[in-house]
């Protein structure tokens, strides 16, 4: 077997929608890569930017944040807070020299088992293409000045 790069992705899943959606993907016996390491939070709004940074610092190659679809948040607006915070997280990472695309925000509802599997497969593939996060280079490279995509989708 060739030594293919296996990225490690930390996923923050909201307890109400996305974690249940991930559960559904499992109980529906959908196949998706094992590279995603899920952490359950009460709400996507709980995801502190420091969690993202510390995940990268501790060796993660990507961070996935999943919350309820806009308007469906169990706490009414937690996901909107995440939505507003997300472009800032991307900008912050860009300043550190980490490719902003290594962090991704997705809306996965409790019934979106197949969507969760699809998102995970896609994201794992994308991070695999990007290769491992090389901290040595990141720390020595000059900060990027390029504009950063917000990465937030409406639905």
């Amino acid at each position: 077997m060739s030594a293919q790069f296996e990225p490690r992705i930390i996923a923050f899943l909201c307890r109400w929608c996305s974690y249940t959606g991930a559960d559904l993907a499992g109980t529906s016996r959908l196949k998706y890569p094992p590279n995603v390491l899920p952490i359950r939070v009460m709400c996507s709004g709980r995801v502190d930017p420091t969690f993202v940074v510390s995940a990268f610092r501790k060796g993660a190659d990507g961070v996935l944040i999943c919350g309820c679809h806009p308007g469906d948040c169990h706490y009414n607006e937690g996901n909107y807070n995440m939505m507003r915070r997300f472009p800032l997280i991307r900008k912050l990472l860009a300043q550190f020299g980490i490719e902003p695309k290594r962090v991704r925000l997705e809306w996965v509802s409790a019934s979106d088992g197949d969507r969760y599997a699809k998102v995970v497969t896609e994201f794992t593939e994308q991070i695999r293409q990007m290769g491992p996060l090389a901290w040595d280079q990141v720390l020595s490279a000059p900060p990027t000045r390029e504009p950063v995509e917000s990465g937030v989708t409406a639905s």
């Binding site: 490690r8 952490i39 009460m42 709980r46 501790k58 993660a60 937690g78």
Partner: protein, 585 residues
């Protein structure tokens, strides 16, 4: 207190009373045309003429404005009175030979035709409208113009009056019906016999209202526009009406709140192709319901705007429902009430009924059976949504009818149905202010704008906010049995809360460390439940753990790390990250 005799009977009346008052006190009938108890006597028509003998003199006087004098002897039906009254009515009849009140009076007096002409003026110049406008409304928007035979009631210069407030008082007082609200207000009366909108400014809100007492609509009440009138106050025998009363706000402390704010129906006039608001005989389901109700203006008879029963009726389903341009969802109730309408029309008028449906949705106990029954009542079911209602005929049989255009998808042809009446089944929508109400109670809205329940299957009456419950169509379109069931379930939930006297809350809540809190109040701004407040004494934010739902958003935004989430502490999550990343894949 003058005492007088009327037709030989003695009566005592208060000072300032008229002869007419005295006669009415004795239940003696004196015909009147221009008299109204709310208005000052006018003496225009003279039909109330009586013979009065006082201090040895006999004279003919108009009883409505002649004061009752002490010792007078009045005769209301003497030969001289009858002769004079016949002559007066004959004069009036010569001008307005077709007016019903005048014709009835003439019949009573034995007058067949007037010798003074047979003009057909609808106005009898009683002046009630003019005096009502002046004395009660207090705006003088209409008045008499011209003189003699040319005299007529009109607005200044015969143009739309600027002072008219459109109250309609002149219309309601007119004894001949010559004045119509359309004339003065330029308003469109959808169905001549039918008004579901506000009608009288003082009214009982709806038939089964609890408490069953009237209220005054300030937007249409004459008093609130001109400061005059107040006649309801005068006639109320219980002195229950007080125009000075104002709305009051009451604060009620409650442990549980049930939202049952209902729905609104889509405005059909938005959808121009169905002609609602343009054609009088295009009505909504609710208007038909009102029309066919036993207490309706037509007494429950199903009539078109011209007063004739319809020969054919089209019932259009899904007006705005299941329509990507308006509401995506099915409104659930329309199929069944449309079937009921078809049944009622068949039973009451025998008219041909067309049901234009997309899919017949008769899900519910006994509903399918009712659908089958209607199928056997010669109702024409056409599977296809109507595309247009028009009054442009293309053939002789469409002349004077409304034409409903539709595609019959079962036959695969486009059909044109000439009908007399069209009933629209408008979509049920969330109320326009649902978002505002949701914000007040800290609950969410689903995509279609209705209130969001806690769980679509397992928590259909609860909401994300504890203690707030939902019932009825504010949560989504549903019929009466479903609304009743949901209401009862919500009431049971609330009772169990009240009965227990305490609530169990999740242990997962946020806490703010008083000593490290910087007082930036970011946590307060992001909390969706208003669980965080600022303690001015301690200069720190405080979390109300009974209200906190434990989303942790405040913890994520806290710049000083003072806010913590129990069971989801920062170090716990970081430890989880550590643990997960310690493993090589």
């Amino acid at each position: 207190m003058p005492t007088l005799t009327v037709d030989g009977r003695s009566v005592e009346v208060p000072e300032g009373a008229t002869i007419l008052d005295a006669a009415r006190e004795l239940d003696i009938e004196v015909p009147t045309l221009c008299h109204h108890p709310m208005l000052k006597p006018y003496g225009a028509c003279r039909v109330c003429i009586v013979e009065m003998e006082w201090q040895g003199r006999t004279r003919m006087v108009a009883s409505c404005n002649y004061p009752a004098r002490d010792g007078a002897a009045v005769s209301t039906r003497s030969p001289r009175v009858m002769t004079d009254r016949r002559m007066i009515v004959e004069f009036l009849l010569g001008r307005s030979s077709k007016v019903k009140v005048l014709r009835d009076l003439a019949d009573d007096l034995g007058i067949d035709v007037s010798r003074f002409g047979d003009k057909e003026d609808e106005c009898i110049l009683c002046g009630l409208c003019v005096r009502t406008c002046e004395e009660i409304v207090g705006v003088e928007a209409i008045s008499f113009a011209e003189r003699g035979t040319e005299r007529l009631v009109t607005t200044p210069y015969d143009e739309a009056s600027e002072t008219c407030i459109g109250c309609g008082a002149c219309v309601s007082v007119c004894p001949t019906g010559v004045l119509k609200l359309e004339d003065i207000a330029g308003r469109k009366v959808i169905h001549r016999e039918l008004s579901l909108g506000p009608n009288k400014p003082i009214r009982v809100p709806f038939l089964q209202a609890v408490p069953n007492v009237p209220f005054i609509d300030e937007t249409t009440c004459i008093h609130f526009q001109t400061g005059n009138c107040k006649h309801c106050e005068v006639v109320c025998p219980k002195d229950a009406i007080d125009h000075q009363m104002e709305d009051e706000y009451e604060e009620i402390e409650a442990g549980a709140v049930l939202l049952a704010t209902g729905h609104q129906v889509i405005d059909c006039s938005e959808m121009l192709r169905y002609g609602y608001g343009r054609y009088n005989n295009v009505i909504t389901g609710l208007e038909f319901e009102k029309l066919s109700h036993a207490t309706s203006p037509t007494g429950g008879r199903i009539l078109c705007a011209n007063g004739q029963p319809p020969e054919s009726v089209a019932i259009l389903h899904c007006i705005g429902s299941r329509d990507e341009n308006y509401c995506d969802y099915c409104s659930r109730v329309c199929c069944m009430y449309s079937l009921k309408f078809a049944h009622l029309i068949r039973e009451k008028t025998g008219a041909t009924v067309y049901e234009l449906y997309i899919d017949m949705r008769a899900a519910g106990k006994g509903y399918e059976e009712f659908y089958k029954r209607t199928l056997h009542e010669d109702v024409v079911f056409i599977r296809g949504k109507a595309s247009e209602v028009t009054d442009w005929p293309e053939s002789l049989e469409e002349e004077g009818k409304l034409v409903v255009k539709c595609e019959d998808t079962l036959l695969g042809v486009v059909r044109r149905l000439p009908v007399d009446m069209v009933i629209l089944s408008p979509a049920l929508q969330a109320r326009a202010d649902a978002a505002k109400v949701a914000q007040v109670f800290g609950i969410g809205l689903s995509r279609d704008g209705f209130f969001l329940e806690q769980h679509p299957k397992l928590g259909p009456v609860q909401t994300a906010s504890d203690g707030i419950f939902l019932a009825g169509t504010c949560q989504g379109p549903k019929d009466i049995p479903d609304s009743v069931a949901q209401g009862a379930a919500a009431a049971a939930h609330m009772l169990s809360l009240v009965d227990r006297g305490s609530v169990t809350i999740e242990p997962i809540t946020s806490v703010v460390e008083e000593t490290t809190c910087g007082g930036c109040r970011l946590c307060i701004s992001v909390c969706p439940f208003d669980a965080v407040t600022f303690d001015e004494d301690k200069k720190a934010s405080v979390v109300d753990e009974a209200v906190c739902k434990g989303c942790g958003t405040c913890v994520a935004v806290c710049p000083s790390g003072a806010a913590r989430q129990r069971f989801f502490e920062d170090r716990e999550i970081v430890a989880e990250i550590d643990g997960l990343l310690a493993v090589r894949i």
